[in-house]
Symmetry: D3
Subunit: 231 residues, 6 copies
């Protein structure tokens, strides 16, 4: 099975990290392909998200042509998922949807820890659309820029851990979702430090796409996700 | 006051129609500017919508620079509204949000009549996000292509009227929202033929932007709609 | 266009203030008429609200007879709106509905600051009915009596400002709705002091009625808001 | 224990009928007192409802002074309940709230059969506020005027039965709530004819008030239902 | 009328206490029967709850055979209510459903104070299912083991009172529901100490069953609660 | 990885069928273990469900002791899932939760086709709890007994196909969930006949458990799903 992990922002280092995270958990017979968008260097808010989508769709269309089986959109804002589902025949999953649905299978409530405050309302709106607001205690920000996760010597990981501990203490949540694509390598350490399931989007999205493809399922093509009309 | 009516698809005829509709209801001292996107010729589904947004944002950014007071995004799928709100300082409203909120002020329930079946789930999801699902009886399609509304000799308007009559009879709705940018010139005739308020998105969006600007209100800039971060 | 601003309580000074606020933002060709109810001196809770409605309806009926185009019910508890919509042919809007719907067009979340604690559950219930609970962070009280806003030397305005600052800090809201009819003259100052859109109900309700009338829309008369049955 | 059954409309015959229904089910040691409002002859829509409330509140206040233990507001539109709860110290229940909450204890879903179509949106809005929309299959009208239930030779009861049978067949509901104060004497016959619990509001409201009073419970007085402020 | 109060856990002392509480409020002509399950000694979480249900159902079936009129399941987790409703012909009510519905009739919002933290998500899920999440401010735990309520010299009752006072101060709730079967004897004292209605599940469940039986109502048998199929 | 597929009813043939379905889609390195409950021969309603849970929990506890990695509860009513999650350390998923969450990843709306009408409200309540009511068009019954699926010569499969076709035509759903454990072998045929994704619970539940285990995730143990308390 071939799965595309497509990073809609244009920072190749983040793609590489996501691909590493994906390969770490994928089955040996799953081939993980990486692709990088042509949009902004990081996705911080609605504008960045919107600007990243055409490049993302080009990658999805190319992969579809090449016979891809399923697609992970490696961004927590779930940009362009509906559009990707129109273009692809296999399953397409974004990080937020994958991880909050995973959290709902492992706990009675969860909180999300994201990077920047401006992403909070974006994520809240996604979770409302996914129908899981009643299980989401709070969307929190560790107040770190997305790219800080890539910097040497940054204390970003400690900030994330501390925010998780605050989430457990204040929100009484039972699991924590990492609201950013770049934290996959931290989950084991964070889970050990905090005692709760810490869920990384890339990891669970890859496994869920594997699961749906393995179950023989594809995206429905009869209405909302039908192939785009020819013009 | 200057209001931009920006059609995110690339069909100039639809822009012109929207501008005419806007000018018909705008105050004499409101200047209506029109702009046309660079995306698909019509917006039929998620893919078309996503592809239209960068061109839309370019128009919004240009208008913002030129001192626009408020913006109407003249498409019923409300593409890129969050991104536009980050770019613009004045109010930005899409047709779906404007018209379902107007309907909620004039009736206890409404149905939506759109063009193509594939737009139904897009609109349902928007209305869920706007919190008005409990007032929306049903989103219906008159099963006509978007561009048919522009064609001479098409029976599109009769199809729309008949679908409205079915909505009243079957859904027991009290108002009908036209789920498409190109029907503004039909509202008076449709309202007379059917006996209910028939709400056109361009019309009410223009008036609502006028209202918010006239009230001295602007888009909040402290978090979700803050100006895009410099990269 | 003629718009009636009807204050359902019997305090003429509040009517006058609302009319001034309305005229400040109305278009030059909109005539603002004021009317005062015969109910309690202020509306603080369900009982006061209920007692104010018959007097309110009498004013609405008189205005309807005299050919009014639209009506603003100048009280934040939105008393008798459904009944007014049965009596009037044009649009009728209350302050809470107008301002929370405006807030939803300008921000991803808002809080409400009202006067007395006992109004909090009334307003929460209204917002639940309007479908906007998911965007409303919190309804807060500045703990001031309604009529204190009219008193010389009261520190009511500072209390309101401080409550708004607390709302921004604690609720992470992006806009604030003033939950009272008597604060229209404070919005500019409050917005400057706090950095967020501060929304006054009279102001936005007048502009929204203007917008709906200007769009040629009237209240639906086929079911829920049909003219009262003759007895 | 003394319970007031107050009919907010001014048709004494309906009060008498409600009192008879109440006495039929009340405990022998419960004294049922009847009172009639000064509003419209029947409550058909928002306007009638609003006009009935001051008279209703006067009866409630008088009964409160005389030491009433609990109050049933004998109208299915639940007029002025919040205001009555401010005035009364004991429990106050309206017919809609009592009967849909009873239905939710006896079935997994229910439909409501009311008299006039114009009451449908009023009842839907109440049920939304009570949080039971997910259990309410549909609010239906048997298309009979409220007062027809009082008329000799009317076929109103057959119409109600037929609508219940349609509700069971089409809505797959498991219980039916009678959406009108005047049908208490029909429940046994309707239940036998249709095979489902048929719930009359007066009956269950009286029993629920008895239950709450018997449990030693009173209306909370610390905020939303606090005694009206002195002016 | 005969009402069974069945305690699904196997601690006879808790049954006795519930029966005493039930008899304290039941009408003189209501016979209260007690029964004790064969499950765990206390119900603390999903596992205990599940293990208690077969014993509970055996008691319900026996009582049904013996002609019981209605049933109270004396546990706040509402275990096996749907199954009991299939077995019984009369009304069946659990403590959580009874008390949150009672709270919704007496206040505009309530909080729940339960014993152990692990019961919080169980209760939150129940309240979500009952449709009352929008009125429930918070489910809190007084952090006491269920059986401590039975122990001499325990400070459990003071802990409960203090948690109620915190609920009023922090949650701004207007009523408090006691989220445990064993606190019925504390309600009067707690209500006096705190100034809000304090609602005990056994008390209100008994009275609600009395009310429904007294209204002549039984559980619907046409679908969701139909008698179990013979195998 | 070892996954237990536990059928909570006592019909060994259904277990075998589920195990076959599970093995058909599991990875070669996943070992599928089967277990059969001691409850009713089939689960048709709340009573059967409740009676099946202790036997189910015994199997889960035994498997947990033996080091199982994850568990599928092979019944569409999701019996005892919370209790299983307390007992197990790995992920536990029921068929309804697995398949409706899968459907939400592949389509914008789905319907469920179950066997008996009495299961409809059970499933509706589950979906409400999972937060997906807004995507579920309708829960339908093909009106066949659960065990008919096992009988030679039954026309059960044609009935299911016809109900799916009706769901597509009438509900405008884009995917169909099979609301029963015994239809796994029909999905390919049904999907071909109907043109939409047809989702079988066993299949997707096994793949989702594989996914969560493969992602290194376990059930949260800090509150709602903590190990049962010792008594």
């Amino acid at each position: 099975m071939k799965i595309l992990v497509v990073n809609p922002n244009s920072t190749k280092a983040m793609t590489d990290k996501a691909v590493v995270a994906a390969r770490r958990v994928a089955h040996p017979d799953t081939e993980i392909l990486g692709a990088t968008g042509t949009g902004p260097a990081s996705i911080e808010g609605h504008f960045d998200e919107a600007m990243s989508v055409p490049g993302l769709l080009a990658e999805v269309a190319a992969a579809e042509k090449a016979g891809i089986d399923g697609i992970v959109v490696a961004c927590f804002d779930d940009p362009g998922i509906g559009a990707c589902r129109e273009v692809a025949s296999g399953p397409v999953i974004g990080l937020c949807e994958a991880s909050v649905k995973a959290a709902s299978l492992l706990s009675t409530s969860f909180s999300v820890v994201t990077t920047l405050p401006r992403s909070i309302p974006v994520i809240e709106r996604l979770i409302h659309g996914y129908g899981l607001s009643h299980l989401c205690r709070r969307v929190r920000s560790a107040a770190i820029p997305v790219l800080a996760l890539e910097e040497e010597g940054s204390d970003a990981r400690e900030k994330v851990r501390d925010e998780i501990l605050r989430a457990i203490a204040e929100d009484k949540c039972e699991a924590v979702v990492l609201g950013c694509a770049g934290m996959a390598d931290l989950t084991d350490w964070l889970s050990e430090e905090t005692g709760v399931p810490v869920i990384d989007g890339v990891t669970v999205a890859v496994k869920m796409v594997e699961a749906l493809v393995g179950a023989g399922l594809k995206t429905s093509k009869i209405s909302g996700y039908a192939t785009p009309n020819e013009k």
